[in-house]
């Protein structure tokens, strides 16, 4: 242990002091929920990015994950259900230097907000989108959602869901995202790495984190106790950076494929295009 670390251990201070809003903790997350550790690594990634904190804005929609924005001590915006992405675009294009990070859940981003996601990816909006996928609507009591896989039980799928869930990384990739990665909340090291890379990226970067929701997902799917979901992830996860995103769909029995699937350089962003448009329009005869 270094002297610095020792000092920190003995002091009242916490390494994340200043990054969380005073008076907002304790958070609302359930015991064994992964949102706490995800918040933690997100802060670390932002901190290590070296970006001026003034230039960071965090936006979320509605849901458990959507509450993360409000705990972070940056300019933070807790919008309406599904609408974080267009809000983030408005913030992003009004200052090309601004780094806008969207953190929200699977239901928020891919059910009610799905249309915004695909168009933001298509336009290559200069934002980072982090989706914590817990396979259900946690905050409202465990209803099935767009990521609920066939055979999964939720309050609105009492006989088990029959629908095909979204293959989110494939959706992002096929709509034009310049960075697409998926990891489980168990693998905090890679999650953090993915956050860092996504934040450093220009353009529409996307990270899916498979989160653990013991309360409303685990309880109905024999994964309720403590770290059961994480163990389930540990058993099922296969790391494959070269996987074709068409092959990374999630179902009840197959392995969960994780990795960095897309990483594209130098694609003009929405902001680049808007600035180019300003130049073109101003060069024309008045």
């Amino acid at each position: 242990m270094t002297e610095d670390q020792k000092e920190l251990l003995e002091s009242e201070a916490h390494p994340l002091d200043g990054f969380l809003r005073e008076g907002r903790i304790p958070h609302i997350f359930c015991p064994a929920c992964s949102l706490g550790s995800i918040t933690n690594v997100l802060i670390e990634a932002i901190n290590e990015s070296g970006i001026d904190p003034k230039k960071i804005a965090v936006v979320s929609g509605i849901g458990c994950t959507g509450r993360i924005a409000g705990y972070l001590n940056f300019d933070s915006f807790h919008t309406t259900h599904g609408r974080s992405i267009p809000f983030a675009i408005g913030l992003s294009v009004t200052d090309p230097e601004r780094k806008v990070i969207v953190v929200s859940g699977d239901g928020d981003l891919f059910a009610i907000g799905g249309n915004h996601f695909i168009h933001a990816a298509r336009r290559n909006a200069n934002i980072t989108v982090i989706c914590v996928n817990n396979f259900n609507y946690g905050m409202t009591g465990g209803q099935a959602g767009p990521t609920t896989y066939a055979g999964q039980f939720q309050t609105t799928a009492p006989y088990g869901s029959l629908e095909e869930p979204f293959n989110i990384p494939n959706l992002a990739a096929s709509c034009g995202a310049v960075y697409v990665a998926r990891y489980t909340a168990l693998d905090v090291r890679r999650v953090k790495e993915a956050f860092s890379e996504a934040i450093a990226k220009n353009g529409f970067s996307f990270v899916e984190v498979l989160g653990s929701c013991p309360t409303t997902y685990g309880r109905r799917n024999q994964l309720a106790e403590g770290k059961k979901i994480l163990e389930f992830f540990a058993e099922k996860t296969v790391l494959n950076h070269d996987a074709d995103t068409r092959d990374v769909r999630i179902d009840k029995d197959s392995p969960i494929i994780v990795g960095k699937f897309v990483d594209i350089e130098d694609k003009p962003t929405l902001t680049d295009n808007l600035l180019a448009l300003q130049r073109v329009s101003q060069a024309k005869k008045g």
Partner: protein, 387 residues
Amino acid sequence: MSKQKQKFLEVSTGEHFTTGNHAAAEGALAVGCKFFGGYPITPSSEIAEHMALRLPQLGGNFVQFEDEIASIIGILGASWGGVKSMTATSGPGYSLMVENIGLGMMTETPCVIINVQRGGPSTGLPTLVGQQDIMQTKWGSHGDFEPIVLCPSSVQECFELAIEAFNYAEKYRLPVTLLLDETLGHMSERLIIPDASKIGKVERKKPKDSPEEHLPYKADDDLIPPMAVAGEGYKVMVTGLTHDERGYPNLNVETQDKLVRRINDKIRLNKKDIIRVEEYKLDDAEIAIIAFGSVARAAKGSVNRARKNGIKVGLLRLITIWPFPDERIEALAEQVKKIYVPEINYGQITREVERSVHGKTEVKGIFKLGGAIHNPQEILKEIEGDA
């Protein structure tokens, strides 16, 4: 400023012959709008088209979003990004926007929505006039709030009230709706745009304290909190949840009461500043017409024709629709023996007038259900028929 930038001016000073839609867009540019987020919809699309042409020249941004929901939320984002922002739509698009107009009310976000009304319900009459969004602009979003809605009657006024809409939005921190109608949006007449120095601009109040001391939702005595935006170091916390002065969610009766009372009262207590009407030949009037938008022009024609026939009719033209000028109308009710309310709907403003007169005079609506504005003769016939 570079030479290139000087080529294009925010204020298109001079005499023009143009439409209400273009005039409203020019008004927005003149007052400094720098972001437009929108989705095409008849009969408002010319506003988006004009902004797409002009905004990049002025260093602003035009984004055509995937729908009206994204458009309204996009302009809220841009407003928190520190620029004046707007969208334009018609009834169906406004219906899609109302949830997030509520977010704008709750988070006290300045922005402007232009609604060029067409006939409804539903897809209705896309290319033809209606005035059926009066109640939607008031009650469309859930919860209690006091909207500001302005309603021009001429191309010149489209320009002028677009400026005022932004000024009210900035001053009182809320989304303001500028309510046009198809007739006005598409008709052309003279527009005189004054010199840039004559454009009165209001900017949002900025905090004077340091980020450490700053409470983003602590209002001054005027009930309006100064507004720090993203990137200024204030680490603003903005939520649609019921929030305290820090901006933190605080879901209890006291916080809700204090917040909702304040965002309503900041408008209610300033009705005098916000409410505008035009009074035309009302001094000696025995009969009054209350009208707004393009129909008010027909009503003026009716007043002129009635006067020629010796009937003492006057017009109260509503320029501010919400907050409703109920006190002025009650005073009018004490003067005249009957009030006629021609409108292109099945009785929206008429009911507000009935509410305002407190039984002091008779109120009669003259309804057209959409597709055409009244002509002066129709209104006159109604008045003469009763006389």
